[in-house]
Amino acid sequence: MTAVTAATEAPEEIRRSWRDAALGFCRRQPLGTFGLAIVVIAAVAGLSAEWIAPYSPTANDFEVMTQPPSWAHWLGTDQFGRDLLSRIIYGARTALIIGFVSAFVGGFAGLVLGVGSAYFGGKTDLVLQRVMDILMAFPLIIMALAVVAIFGTGVQNVIAAITVPLIPRCARVVRASALSIREVPYIDAARTSGFSHARIILRHMVPNVVAPFLIMLTAFVGQAILAEASLSYLGLGVQEPTPAWGLMLQGGAEEYASTAPWIAIFPGLAIALTVFGFSLFGDALRDAIDPKLRER
């Protein structure tokens, strides 16, 4: 009986500690909480687009072309008579898929390369870091443009285009943290105990660079969303009729800036708010995780 009580109390304690931590985060980081709320809203919109979007995001309706916001179409319609609210809701899915996949793939590849580079050192480190230097010599958008120019447009290629430039950025930061960890006694102890390289890296080094890595991931998601919007705006990203914020902004801003400004304004706001949300959340996460900043 006592054992059963103890078993049910333990998860309750864990739940409570998570709740306290979450409430503590909200109290200490109100801006970060606001950012997180934006991210959550965007994520919910993207995940439940089928159920909450009032219209099909791709169906043309020539009866209501370039209609201003109204009760029927809260954010108005575009040049094809498509409901802007529905396209923005579905566009959240495109943005988040591209943002998260690019950030996670780029981030994890960077993590592996960064920690590996730091751990092995020597020629491995030298070669990897020079390759990273070359990749980092190009600004993110230029690198992404080059990748799209080689492989063409489309969601998968856009993800690849954004992922590639993120890898060296992550690898560089992770390597810096991992270099200091490599010198600590327990890593030497693990080596002398005959642990495999994989075990040392994955069990003993990676957990110690997770904090800066997570912070970087949130920043990467925002950067990736912005890069996707930029590529789509340049006509090199996602293509019609896929709902994507940058693409919507491009179509609206180019031809209808003066006659139907809502076509560009709302997707522009969606991009700005979401990137802002990730930025605020990332900053707050850094403050919350970093012990030097936590007590300020």
Binding site: N60, M65, G235, Q239, E240, T242, E254, E255, T259, A260
Partner: protein, 536 residues
């Protein structure tokens, strides 16, 4: 938002500016000098060779550097029969029952390198266009199928001998891509003109920054006396429409010669008033949705038929005309031409019916029969906004109504052509844009590639070729029209080798100080800039 008054003002301005444009230029004193800056709405062309290419990007960049044998009358470019000599001395009367045309070539014409241009250069250029040697590509070879021989009996004479008499010959000869190249260069390296420029036209080449700009200066030795009026020109490549419209708005460019959509026209007229002049015309241009029959399931006519049946051009054209440079529902032939199908004739062809629900039900049935239910494919398109991307967005939505899911792949002009030529696409948004309204030759676009090099459908069809040849040789207008109907029905209905979209509508908005230029039904015509002058 635009108020009704605003629209009224815009409409009135258009009428006024169009009226101004129609005013003969001769009423004003021509001013010489100045540099014309205009926009080319494209990325870098695949090459600078007019003989090889079929894109306006090449022509808009290079036409001012070259001469042609004959051309449309720049003062009457809307006419499909008014031809004038460029390098010849007078328009010849055909002899030998309409099968021989003898042209006398101007004396004293010089290439830009100072060497004389003779009939030998003209003959050699046309021989390369009509009968390209192995390894040389000519986009206009098929137009010259009626030509038997091109001879050069003396330094001032070029003789075209035809296999049969046809009214399609002279319009084909006025092709603006048919640049006269230097014989010696062609013989030494036929590919030289792909990357270099050297002609005898009104402007001499100065520099070309790939995909950025091209510049020319006045040719002081130009053979049309007093022309060109400009000191030079700069053409700037800009695929983005907003960039081009902004350039005209800010007077960084006077115009573009391809065409702007209604929204851009309204915007410019509203903001610039009488500083902008608008010229409009029907456009001998149409986008085609061409399935690659070398790829499954597009080798199955039932699938192609289903794709045609899903599209409702009668509802789409009026709506699209408000946002894109398209306007008129039509078949293979330029609407309004005597050889074009009437509305009643069109409605008998698949994809032009009036009961769209019935058509879509039939389309679903055909897809099911072909085992292509839930078909998914990629539509390859060109990175040109107007009207390519608009037409594609419309078509994709129409196809979704029969359960076909389509994604779009957009490529810059160069890779787009490469993919077309290599057949690395499933369905492509391509185009049939011709210069002269010459239906007999214009419809050759749907002939198999073995006959017409710019066909990308991946099919061979002897019957289609036979129908075409029979029509081409027919000289009786009524019989020719009947044969055109047979050809059109076979191509669009029986075989569905391509799917028509609405024909284009050309709107040119240019700075009012640009004078001497008149619109034509083609963005390929009247582009050597020799007649243009700047009133400022």
């Amino acid at each position: 938002m635009t108020t009704p008054t605003g629209w009224l003002a815009a409409g009135l301005s258009i009428v006024l500016t169009a009226a101004l444009a129609a005013t003969p230029a001769v009423a004003q004193t021509i001013k010489k000098g100045g540099t014309l800056t205009y926009m080319i709405p494209a990325d870098a062309p695949p090459s600078l060779d007019g003989h090889k290419e079929n894109t306006f990007a090449t022509l808009h960049a290079t036409a001012p550097f070259y001469s042609t044998l004959i051309s449309i009358n720049p003062d009457n470019p809307s006419s499909s029969t008014d031809f004038v000599c460029d390098l010849c001395t007078e328009m010849p009367k055909p002899t030998d029952d309409g099968k021989t045309y003898t042209f006398k070539i101007r004396k004293g014409v010089k290439f830009h390198d100072g060497t004389p241009l003779t009939a030998a250069d003209v003959a050699k250029s046309w021989q390369y266009i009509a009968f390209p040697p192995k390894g040389v590509s000519s986009a206009r070879e098929a137009y010259m199928s009626m030509v038997d021989k091109i001879e050069n009996p003396d330094p001032e004479t070029v003789v075209f001998k035809l296999k049969f008499a046809t009214s399609a010959f002279l319009p084909a000869l006025a092709d603006p891509f048919a640049y006269i190249y230097k014989k010696d260069i062609l013989e030494k390296d036929p590919a030289w003109y792909e990357k270099n420029v050297m002609g005898s036209g009104p402007f001499k080449f100065v520099e070309y920054e790939t995909g950025q700009s091209i510049k020319g200066v006045r040719n002081p030795d130009y053979y049309h006396e007093g022309k060109p009026y400009l000191d030079g020109f700069t053409a700037i490549f800009a695929a983005k429409q907003s960039v081009r419209v902004d350039a005209v708005r800010a007077d960084r460019a006077a115009t573009e010669f391809r065409g702007v959509p209604p929204s851009a026209r309204d915007e410019l007229v509203k903001e610039l008033g009488d500083k902008i002049t608008v010229q409009t015309s029907d456009w001998n241009c149409v986008n085609l949705l061409t399935p690659n029959q070398k790829k499954k399931p597009f080798d199955d006519v039932r699938v192609r038929r289903a794709l045609a049946l899903a599209i409702d051009p009668w509802k789409g054209a009026p709506a699209l005309s408000k946002i894109a440079t398209v306007h008129t529902v039509g078949g293979l032939v330029f609407p309004g031409s005597p050889l074009a199908a009437t509305k009643e004739e069109l409605q008998k062809i698949v994809g032009f019916g009036t009961d769209i629900e019935k058509a879509r039900a039939e389309a679903r049935k055909l897809l099911k029969e072909a085992g292509a239910e839930g078909l998914k494919f990629e539509l390859m398109n060109r990175n040109v906004d107007q009207p390519y991307k608009f037409v594609a967005t419309w078509a994709i939505d129409e196809w979704s109504k029969i359960g076909v899911k389509v994604t779009q792949r957009v490529l810059p002009t160069g890779p787009f052509y490469e993919a077309l030529r290599n057949g690395t696409f499933e369905v492509a948004v391509e185009f049939n844009c011709q210069n002269m309204v010459n239906p007999l030759l214009d419809v050759a676009k749907v002939l198999p590639r073995s006959v017409y090099p710019e066909n990308y459908g991946g099919y061979e069809d002897p019957k289609l070729i036979e129908l075409y040849n029979s029509m081409l040789k027919e000289t009786d207008p009524a019989k020719q029209r009947a044969k055109m109907r047979e050809f059109e029905t076979y191509a669009l209905d029986t075989q569905v080798v391509t799917i028509m979209t609405p024909w284009w509508s050309r709107i040119i908005a240019h700075r009012s100080y640009m004078k001497g230029w008149k619109i034509s039904p083609s963005h390929y015509l009247n582009l050597n800039l020799a007649n243009i002058w700047l009133d400022k």
